[in-house]
């Protein structure tokens, strides 16, 4: 193969490619989280931001070069949000999002206010790669609560989640499943996935006064669409 001279011969091609490579940085929710679990993540985020600022500084320095500096590096720009409100038009739900963790008995926490829903904060942020989880009550002691109609959601229905900094992400229902409350695939619901998903949980099934529990859990699986 002959030796190749680098100069401007590919500048035109590069410029053409710019179109395919354009990307929007998007609003980012980068709020520090107080829980001790989040320490590592926050450190990573800080390191991440540091790298980014270095990059922008360096690329500014090389701006005189006639080359590829105006082409952004293609990368996975998915960035999760700190969820504040949820809006599900199909079942007329508009609710505030509480942040919960793991209860002392190991269960996922639930919202204090039955009109609110709860995001599982030690897990994935909505929009990040992985399964984000939001739970809501089906009823309170006497009447229907926020996720009473969750079972009515159908494939294709949209869920809008707004972040602390105002960025709204939209998710779309792709599957729903019912599991016995003690036999749900936790890894599938809470674990990692390459996709950015949001799983909504509520109670369903027969109520057992002995356990003060309904027998099953409904999971509505949704995926990020924008």
């Amino acid at each position: 193969m002959k030796r190749f001279s680098f100069l401007t011969s590919f500048a035109i091609l590069i410029l053409l490619l710019t179109g395919c490579m354009s990307q929007s940085p998007g609003a980012e929710d980068n709020q520090m989280k107080p829980s001790s679990n989040a320490e590592e993540k926050t450190d990573e985020e800080a390191a991440d931001n540091k790298t980014k600022s270095n990059e922008s500084k360096e690329s500014a320095e090389s701006a005189e070069k006639l080359s590829t500096e105006d082409i952004e590096i293609i990368k996975d720009n998915r960035k999760g949000i700190n969820p504040v409100t949820i809006d599900i038009p199909a079942i007329d739900v508009k609710a505030d999002i509480e942040h919960v963790g793991k209860l002392p008995d190991g269960r996922m926490g639930v919202p204090d206010n039955t009109d609110n829903v709860a995001w599982y904060e030690p897990g994935t942020k909505p929009g990040d790669p992985g399964n984000a989880v939001i739970a809501g009550h089906v009823d309170d002691l006497t009447s229907p609560a926020v996720f009473y109609n969750l079972h009515k959601l159908e494939k294709g229905d949209k869920i809008h989640v707004k972040g602390k900094k105002g960025k709204t992400l939209t998710f779309e229902v792709y599957k729903k499943k019912i599991f016995p409350r003690l036999d749900a695939p936790l890894l599938d619901i809470f674990g990692f996935t390459y996709a950015s998903t949001l799983n909504l949980i509520t109670c369903t099934g027969e109520y057992n006064p002995e356990t003060t529990e309904r027998a099953d859990r409904l999971v509505v699986y949704t995926k990020l669409v924008q």
Partner: protein, 449 residues
């Protein structure tokens, strides 16, 4: 081999310390009891980290060698091919030989399209380049189909295929930047592309583990502890890879030498930040000083080689031996003996020998030795990462507690349940009735007044 010793000695050393660390906080039936970096699922993730990361590294370097018409191109390409063999074997170990073969055909084909793109670039044949890009665009669909058959999960397959398509785009981007002479961008791209593959590895390993939970003893590929190991996998192996290339560029006086050295320095920054996030800023800074100094010693070795100055070469090697000693003690102290100084020193000795051998054979134009040695040097770092991450997690188990709940939330109180009222509801209803009665009574009383 020293690497084996490292792997054996370190787990032994921290298994002695673990009983102290294993608190009851994580004790729940059917779940992992303590954070760990070594279980079948995390090991799978590490295997994929290694092979996918190395694939990117070798692909980026081979494409550059190709367009430059470099004499070591063939051997660099052979190393990439050897990586494909290993990757296909890893896939076959999970999905069987037939799937492994199918994977290999598909993976080799995508490398072939990259070769076509490089050839098209070298011969300034725009049509050939476009044809190669068109083929590469198809690749996503093929891959998605393969993965959905393999993982039986369409959403996951599509998402991972998107991730692989981004990998393809990144390689093209990195290559184009190199050809355009924007070396700074080319090397940044290389780092981003390598890092990106770790996300693919994370997704792929977690999908495989979820598909065959028993094969992986119900362990998880993605936990905070596994993430630490993977992050160190990335940074340490990237260090070895970038160092090997910076040394080659140094002796060649290549135009991209500075950019490659800058990428190596950026890797050092990230590595120091990772150490600092565990042991504090001061320790991070000390780490950075030592680490940068050892890179400086390698630079001295390269310079001495260029100047044919045997004394200076020896001085550089002596300095590396001194570094080995100091650095091992530093890490041993930080990890409170969980990474024993002598074990780490042996590992570092091997790292130094591998890089020097890869470089010396490159200078001697013995490329058939250079590239297998670079692969060894790359793989060696995963042993270091396992030892270091294992020690850190054993030292700070609370920082790596599992994120997942052990049970589903209780999202109902029974107020709308069909059969009967719950005890709480009855109490509440009782209270409400009493209050209502009280209000009525008090109103009547006030009316009477």
């Amino acid at each position: 081999m020293n690497i084996k010793k490292t792997l054996v000695a370190v787990p032994l050393s921290f298994s002695l310390l673990l009983p102290v660390a294993a608190n009851t906080t994580f004790a729940h039936e059917g779940h992992e009891h303590k954070p760990t970096v070594t279980n079948p699922a995390v090991d799978l993730r590490t295997t994929l980290d290694k092979l996918l990361g190395e694939h990117v590294y070798l692909a980026v370097e081979t494409m550059r060698k190709g367009v430059d018409g470099a004499p070591d191109f063939e051997q660099s390409a052979a190393a990439l091919q050897a990586n494909t063999e290993d990757l296909s074997a890893a896939i076959a170990s999970v999905y069987g030989d037939e799937a492994g073969q199918k994977f290999k055909d598909m993976w080799s084909a995508h490398i072939g399209f990259f070769v076509d793109y490089v050839k098209g670039t070298a011969s300034e044949d725009e049509a050939a380049k476009k044809a190669a890009l068109d083929e590469l665009a198809q690749y996503k669909e093929d891959f998605s189909n393969f993965l959905s058959t393999a993982t039986d999960e369409r959403l996951e397959a599509d998402a991972l295929a998107e991730g692989l398509q981004m990998h393809v785009d990144q390689l093209i981007g990195a290559f184009n930047a190199y050809v355009a002479g924007d070396f700074e961008k080319a090397y940044k791209y290389e780092r981003e592309a390598i890092h990106h593959m770790y996300m693919v590895s994370k997704g792929l390993s977690s999908a495989i583990v979820q598909q065959f939970p028993e094969k992986f003893e119900n362990t998880k590929a993605v936990t905070p502890a596994a993430d630490l190991r993977s992050n160190l996998n990335y940074l340490l192996s990237e260090h070895a890879g970038l160092a090997a290339m910076a040394m080659q560029n140094g002796i060649e006086g290549s135009e991209d030498f500075e950019a490659s050295a800058a990428a190596l320095a950026a890797n050092t920054e990230d590595l120091s930040a990772a150490i600092g996030s565990v042991y504090g800023e001061e320790a991070g800074q000390k780490f950075k000083d030592m680490w940068s100094a050892h890179i400086g010693n390698f630079v001295d070795y390269v310079k001495a080689t260029g100047a044919k100055d045997e004394d200076a070469k020896k001085a550089a090697l002596d300095a590396l031996a001194e570094y080995k000693k100091n650095f091992s003690e530093f890490i041993s102290t930080a990890t409170e003996g969980r990474v024993p100084a002598d074990v780490l020193a042996e590992g570092l000795q091997m790292h130094v020998e591998q890089l020097v051998k890869a470089f010396d054979t490159y200078v001697a134009e013995d490329y058939a030795t250079t590239y297998p040695t670079i692969r060894e040097a790359y793989a060696h770092m995963f042993g270091t990462s396992k030892a270091l991450s294992g020690a850190i997690v054993a030292q700070f188990p609370d920082k790596f507690a599992g994120e997942m709940p052990d049970e589903m939330p209780k999202t109902g109180m029974g107020g709308t349940a069909d059969q009967g009222m719950s005890t709480e509801a009855m109490i509440l209803a009782g209270l409400t009735a009493m209050m209502a009665a009280a209000i009525v009574v008090s109103r009547r009383l006030s009316k009477q007044k």
